[in-house]
Amino acid sequence: MNVKIKTFGISRDILGGREVAIDLSGTSVGDLRKQLNSQFPELIKLNSLFIAVNLEYASDEVLIQEKDEIALIPPVSGG
């Protein structure tokens, strides 16, 4: 399944683009997380990394559809 990943903050520097296409071999957020960590090991060094699906923080069990809006949320620092 082809998914597009929006990147923000330091995750953009690590993935190298505002929106990065990934050929996801699994079906869940957890599968995507494993694949990203393997492909971009710098992600593992972050304080935290959440994945948002359709503007909501998503746990690893959430299933991904090809049309979903997926985004990487490295440690936030607003305010």
């Binding site: 923000f8 903050g9 330091i10 923080y57 949320i73 440690p75 936030v76 620092s77 607003g78 305010g79």
Partner: protein
């Protein structure tokens, strides 16, 4: 009023948006860019937001605050883009009938905002830059 903006924040407008006739108390928090971080000179900052999700997360925080306290008004505005020291990054304003609630609720909103809202800050020093809080 919940807004992200590339333009300088007008504090008076944010406070006005949070004020209500039934309120006796308005507490407003203004976060400004400090000229130092851990002893290093800050040259400038850049704030980036995942805008639709940031707005939706702030809406959730306000909804939680409204469940806990009798808010008569609220307004949150966060700046994005390049900021210089002294500029305003965020304004949170909350009004309530009673004083103590306005402090507690305003602090709750800014504390939660810093925890959950997808906004990122990059600090630029004389000799480099960093995404704040990214690494241990």
């Amino acid at each position: 009023m919940i807004a992200l903006t590339h333009k300088p924040i007008e504090v008076q407008k944010v406070i006005q948006a949070a004020t209500a006739d039934a309120a006796g108390a308005v507490t407003t928090f203004i976060g400004t860019v400090r000229n130092q971080t851990a002893g290093k000179n800050v040259v400038r900052l850049e704030y980036e937001a995942y805008e639709p999700m940031a707005v939706s997360e702030i809406q959730k925080i306000i909804a939680q605050a409204r469940e806990r306290w009798a808010l008569t008004g609220w307004a949150v505005e966060h700046r994005t883009g390049v900021l210089l020291p002294g500029e305003i990054a965020v304004v949170v304003s909350v009004s309530t009938p009673h004083r103590k609630d306005s402090f507690t609720a305003c602090q709750y909103v800014i504390d939660q905002l810093k925890e959950t809202v997808p906004i990122w800050k990059r600090e630029f020093f004389d000799d480099g830059d960093q995404w704040v809080s990214a690494h241990p």
